[in-house]
Symmetry: C2
Subunit: 330 residues, 2 copies
DNA sequence: TTGTATGCGTTATCAC
DNA sequence: GTGATAACGCATACAA
């Protein structure tokens, strides 16, 4: 049986209500006794009973994160960053990898104070829930019940193309990414790329749009190999994700082409790992640490200020220039 | 304010203790009243207060899983399987991706009934904890405090080589894997391979042992490319993991070699995905579902039968013959 | 078969 | 400043 405030009270020679106050650093208790109590508590190895605390306080200080597609690697860096970010606050995080309804159910039982949901999947429509829920995903009309943090893929693509075209002079630009229509984020990227090209009055050769049908390294590798079979090479490639771009680099080198001299490449996803690739990769996207910070800030705000209106927070993608893009040769 | 058993009692016209019994399906309450109460409870949308339940029962029915290296993909399939397995029981699972001490601390606060720890890292020595803890990892002398479920890499390698040599006649066998000495599991595989070769009296050409220095697809790809630069090819390759083997396949095909006619390949890791690769891959290892089942069974046993002695459970790897190995040409 | 009383460990509201 | 005491929502031994 673990030690309770009553045990402490007994050996400290005070009442247990005083112990409670001391433990909560209440100003209503004399510093000397407070210190004495604290000392005793430490000596006895006191650990507050979480269940009892929450029973009376109605608060858990736990945030649940739902990540149903754990086997999709891409988000693990974001999870790590969110976890670190939450550790700076009084809250803790628990993770559920079960399907959304089961996760929601479990978190209801745990009585978490709030929930973060990674919503990659287009066909999941969630009903309003009682407790605060924040979605990380694409802001559109479908999901109207919850605040959303949206990394703004469209603008990211606009800036990628802007950099490639306006700054470096590229016009023959290809996009290699996953066109899967079950993943809203991927769809946004593709849509954003097309829109950006149009915006700058650039046309896209049909074979410059390559569907990797996946998000893994070899998907990018296969895709770029296919792209380069055609003798009409692009001068720049936009890669849809970190892993895909890794494969793209390899595939290009395989063909004895130089990056960035023969082909420039810019990748979506703004994570530090980009700097450690074969060739430090110029990338576009909301920096993962800022993304994590915003997500955590939002859910906590939502928890502590429950009357917040549903809202959309579109983040601002940033361009990270490294060594994979060059000016087009005239 | 949510509905409690007292509310139910009031409108069902019974005492709240009767409600409690009915809700817990006690035989001490008449079926008719039980049904009436259950009906009322459902109508009122009753949800038991978890905190109150655990306060009185001293049980949480939650199992914590510590997975500090979330960014290492390999285990996500296992996590999914464990999650599914736990869902068949009265327990729930929560996941922590924080470093081990922080995770342990958090789980202590949550008062989880038990903890599963993925221990990939050699230099973490854990002290005895108060609550049941099960380690998934390598059983050796270092970790002597806790029961361990060990997938028995050594025997897996023995069987892989046995199959390649005794059944198919290969003698020129290479091993491609991660030699990192910070990951005990990888070390075991390498050690196991060497031991197996020795056991069958087979020698290993120095360049047949390739360190991928990583566990990703392209690590395997790079490694096999290096291996095949040497004109002295092996007739069979043992791949250290699912991802690595994926890269190996690609690298071999790249060289216009046929699998399995020119080179046989067998991969560690026994997960269903092996069947869906470019070439359905013959693999060795404890099937991931059995592994998950054993892990879950063990931790629950540990929880419910607390006086269990520290013990080691070495699992039995299974050979899954698919289409990537062939008899050696005489 | 049902109801009453008690306690789980805490916090909070009072008195003293 | 400090100490009783009443909640919080539930399970359970015991009484009816």
């Amino acid at each position: 049986m673990s030690v309770t405030i009553k045990d402490i009270a007994k050996i400290a020679g005070v009442s247990y209500s005083t112990v409670s106050k001391a433990l909560n650093d209440s100003p209503l208790v004399k510093p000397t006794t407070k210190n004495r109590i604290l000392k005793v508590a430490k000596e006895m190895g006191y650990e507050p009973n979480f269940a009892a605390q929450r029973l009376v306080s109605k608060q858990t200080k736990i945030i649940g994160l739902i990540w149903p597609t754990i086997e999709r690697v891409v988000l693990s860096t974001l999870v790590t960053n969110i976890s670190n970010e939450i550790r700076k606050t009084p809250y803790s995080m628990i993770l559920s990898v079960e399907p959304i309804p089961a996760s929601l159910e479990a978190f209801k039982r745990f009585q978490v104070d709030g929930v973060i949901l990674f919503d990659e999947n287009i066909d999941i429509l969630i009903e309003p829930t009682t407790r605060p829920l924040l979605v990380y995903g694409v802001a559109d009309k479908v999901n109207k019940y919850f605040p959303i943090v949206d990394p703004n893929h469209e603008q990211a693509m606009l800036e990628a193309v802007n950099y490639l075209y306006s700054d470096l002079g590229h016009t023959k630009i290809a996009y290699i990414g996953d066109f899967s229509n079950s993943d809203r984020m991927q769809m946004e990227k593709l849509k954003g790329f097309k829109k950006a090209m149009k915006h700058f009055g650039l046309s896209i050769a049909p074979h410059f749009l390559i569907d990797t049908k996946g998000l893994d390294w070899y998907d990018g590798y296969n895709a770029v190999s296919k792209l380069l079979e055609n003798s009409n090479h692009p001068t720049a490639i936009v890669g849809g994700s970190y892993d895909i771009s890794g494969g793209i680099i390899r595939g290009i080198k395989e063909k004895k082409l130089q990056i960035p001299n023969d082909i420039s490449i810019i990748s979506y996803d703004n994570i530090p790992q980009m700097a450690n690739m074969e060739i430090p990769l110029t990338s576009i996207g909301v920096p993962v640490d800022k993304l994590a910070a915003e997500i955590v800030r939002s859910i906590i705000e939502l928890i502590e200020n429950k009357n917040l209106h549903p809202s959309i927070r579109k983040m601002t993608p940033e361009l990270n220039i490294r060594k994979s893009c060059a000016t087009i040769k005239k």
